[in-house]
Symmetry: C2
Subunit: 343 residues, 2 copies
């Protein structure tokens, strides 16, 4: 698979309707999705991701049930978009090839296959299916702070050789400091930059998402993610409307209309926010200790149930090195901490 031509200096993907699903506790309505897609499409966003927070097939006891069937949401998004492409997230082990076929039938034109940063070898099958369906492909190397730049580049190579058009440095914990992000961008661009685009997906847990996006563009990263109002796991993603303003100031062409992006955030998304994503103690601890951002609401629920502070649960999850897919261990950690407190 060759990579697509770029229409702008940077290709922005908005993930309000996927990563934001975590912050919404997966309760998006069809009307919210339609309104958000319409506003993003009008403002010039090229790719809009729509899925359960943990990817297609994520609606479950372990990850949280969706309010609306995601195939309904994907189809609604596709109807509203006039130029934007609709993408879905697929985490192998959560979503299946069959889920991907259904998402494609509903209107998804791109799949973003997400694996832990050292497990790219579980992705090739899904890139193969996507290829067969004629879908664009992206590969997420999640928790990218947990491995070296060199290894991350080797993992990106596995994805690209399997047909991935754009491997991503995915900072799921919002933990990457600028020099750490830069080293990873440079290593991945050096390894696959002649054949594929390189992407960056950031979180604001320690306020580095937008800054890392600027560095990413400087060193050759061409796909960059954001969310309106930062709606996403942890302290949220790099706000897409801030990326629009910052790249505008830098003279980097994203194709985005800054005022339309500001309006989309303020007038479409802000009214339905359950809470504005923020750098509170729990979110900062996630960036500081390198904890998967989507653990946030799970840890807060366990904290309430077992009467131990959520930030203690999150720090322990960081010490134990838990990654996406190990959400059930959060209860375990809470029980252990409760036991330690009692004794």
């Amino acid at each position: 698979m060759t990579r697509p031509e770029l229409r702008h200096d940077v290709r922005i993907t908005d993930t309000t309707l996927r990563d934001g699903s975590h912050a919404m506790d997966h309760q998006f309505s069809e009307a919210q999705v339609r309104d958000t897609v319409r506003a993003l499409d009008r403002a010039g966003v090229e790719v809009i991701e729509v899925s359960h927070g943990d990817g297609i097939g994520g609606s479950s006891f372990n990850y949280g049930f969706s309010r609306t069937d995601e195939m309904t949401l994907i189809a609604a998004a596709r109807e509203e978009a006039t130029t934007a492409k609709i993408a879905v997230l697929l985490v192998p082990g959560i979503g299946t090839a069959d889920d991907l076929r259904r998402a494609h039938d509903a209107g998804a034109e791109m799949v973003r296959v997400a694996t832990h940063c050292t497990e790219a070898d579980v992705s090739p099958q899904h890139f193969g299916v996507a290829h067969g369906l004629g879908m664009e492909t992206v590969g997420f190397l999640m928790m990218a702070h947990r491995t070296s730049p060199e290894d991350l580049a080797a993992q990106a190579r596995i994805m690209v050789d399997a047909g991935c058009q754009a491997p991503y440095v995915t900072d799921s914990a919002g933990a990457l400091l600028m020099h750490e992000a830069r080293a990873r961008f440079e290593a991945v661009v050096a390894e696959v930059g002649d054949e594929a685009w390189v992407g960056y997906h950031g979180h604001q847990n320690i306020a580095m998402g937008v800054a890392n996006s600027v560095i990413a563009q400087e060193v050759g990263v061409r796909y960059i993610d954001g969310s309106l109002c930062a709606l996403g796991a942890g302290a949220g993603n790099s706000p897409t409307e801030v990326l629009a303003a910052v790249f505008d100031r830098l003279g980097v062409d994203t194709g985005l209309d800054v005022l339309a992006m500001l309006d989309a955030a303020q007038e479409v998304v802000q009214p339905y926010l359950p809470r504005w994503p923020k750098m509170d103690r729990n979110a900062i601890v996630q960036g500081w200790a390198g904890v998967y951002s989507s653990f946030l609401l799970h840890a807060e629920r366990a904290a309430e149930r077992y009467k131990v502070p959520a930030h203690d649960i999150l720090r322990r999850c960081g010490e134990l090195g838990y990654v996406g897919g190990q959400e059930d261990m959060i209860i375990d950690v809470a029980l252990t901490l409760a036991g330690e407190r009692a004794s």
Copy 2:
């Protein structure tokens, strides 16, 4: 005046109780100030600024009346601090030499004299008064995006020659992108770095405050400002608790206890927040268009009164180049915009 010895790699000043006064509409109570100072002092913060948002003497019709006399707040802060120094802000033209003497008598040990970035020549008298009182001195060069690195360095030179121990690159509009901030830090350090410390005060309007703080430290800036929960004008300041976590991850010694800082933000400041400072449309426009952050609430009030959008008012203020002290012009802009809409 020689500069003081540093006890850590970076000397953190927390301005929750001064810049945060803007976000609190100047309604701090004595109990809030005591609780905040106690928590900051315990967590190892070296300097705590306490003043009306526009500096001592700011309580007025034009800038907003304080709920509690600031001399009462300064004295309360002084009582609670065991090791931290209490600082006050003084904007010549708002505060007077007499205000400074009273603040000193109430317990202030440092003054931060703030001028527009091209008007350092109004500061020497106040540095002289501070010197006579035996106070430490800092100089704020506000709206630092509005002049070149070279000119900013020349202005810092004026301050240092007048006895300022630490001129600051003060990004009042939260507008400085990383390369713009770096150029200003480097120019000021090159000009005065042998005699004085250089400081940085940032806002999060376009998410650059923390990132610029990291760059500042890298290039020799030694005084860095933050606010708990980002409480401050615009989208708020660089959150001090995030600075603590980030510098900890970088191995830069600030003397701060990260967990105590996280607790201070979460348990002391968050409960009294009128609203969590955030990158909403108005705040982003301030960073994007380079507008003085403390115009935010003034513009929101004018917007409500004259039925024109606050972000339009702020953008017009940016186009017209208004700076701190021109708050009365905000009403003028709102009236003009309302007239344009009517016709």
